[in-house]
Symmetry: none
Subunit: 154 residues, 2 copies
DNA sequence: TTGATTCCCATAAAATACCATGTTATACCA
DNA sequence: TGGTATAACATGGTATTTTATGGGAATCAA
């Protein structure tokens, strides 16, 4: 069991004409420490990009393999959905990754990217969409105090 | 505890008149790192080609040997189908493989091949069939979100 | 021979590494 | 505590490498 690391904070960086963005330096530290890479994919539920370490996906692959069998339809659909959309992103010596057109479009990002830490994962939003989302979340919490015991309820 | 090796992303490459296709460079990297080879066979359930490293097929063979009761007779038959259908594909110095007529026909591929990462495996689709398949899966997810208990890590 | 497969070369485009600079954050010292 | 030196960072620009892909020569089988 190695060390664990959390993606934290909310950081806004510029996206240049080629789609390059600086990965927040805290995130880069995590990647280096774990000797892994960043993987990003379109969020299934929100107009944002989701990211995590390749470690985490690797673990997911193993879990899927052991909980479903080689020929199951579930395994087929799940793996298509997750791994087919995910892409590995390495950063150069200046710490930048190059997001793809597909991801940028899904998240409606043009010239600014907001990195939002989510623990083991993080998200990348456009400024406008993140402003809306943050407001939505805070509003929801104000009206309905969260509880850890019942997260699945809804 | 080595690096992780996952087939990711969705990449479309041309199939030229001779039947040659570039294997995505990420995939080639995996093959080189593992000192293995690519194996392809007709999907048992979809109009697509399925591929993986020879390593994985070996693992499947071992699994069958050591836990015959784990596999039903039907599944055992299916594995026979796979091994009988599977063929090794090496890529040339420019990174291309040459798919067989049998495989191309099964997947209805003419001039474009879509490589879809599935973690330990990948698939190769025609553009038209993949568009349909992706839509089917995303529609399914929209109506019934899969439970990925391990998505967050442990 | 013919038709197919493998290997090699050429090139355009895309991805990546590298360099330079202004800015911000951090460390250091009086 | 305040002020300055230093390091880290974000970001624009450029150079270099990798990759996909077309075409041709060499090899091989029937």
């Amino acid at each position: 069991m190695g060390k664990t690391f959390l993606f934290l904070d909310t950081i806004t960086n510029k996206v240049d004409a080629k789609g390059r963005v600086s990965l927040p330096s805290d995130y880069r530290t995590i990647v280096k420490e774990l000797s892994t890479e960043i993987v990003c994919y379109r969020s299934l539920t929100s107009p944002c990009i989701e990211g995590c370490t390749e470690d985490l996906l690797e673990k997911l692959a193993t879990d899927i393999e052991t909980s479903t069998d080689f020929f199951s339809e579930t395994q087929d659909d799940l793996t298509n959905l997750i791994f087919g959309d995910a892409k590995r992103f390495g950063f150069d010596s200046t710490g930048r990754i190059m997001l793809t057109e597909k991801l940028l479009k899904h998240a409606e990002i043009t010239d600014s990217a907001v990195f939002v830490g989510k623990g083991r994962k993080f998200q990348i939003w456009s400024e406008a969409n993140w402003a809306k989302e943050e407001q939505r979340i805070r509003e929801k919490v104000r009206q309905n105090r969260p509880t850890l015991k019942n997260e699945e309820g809804k």
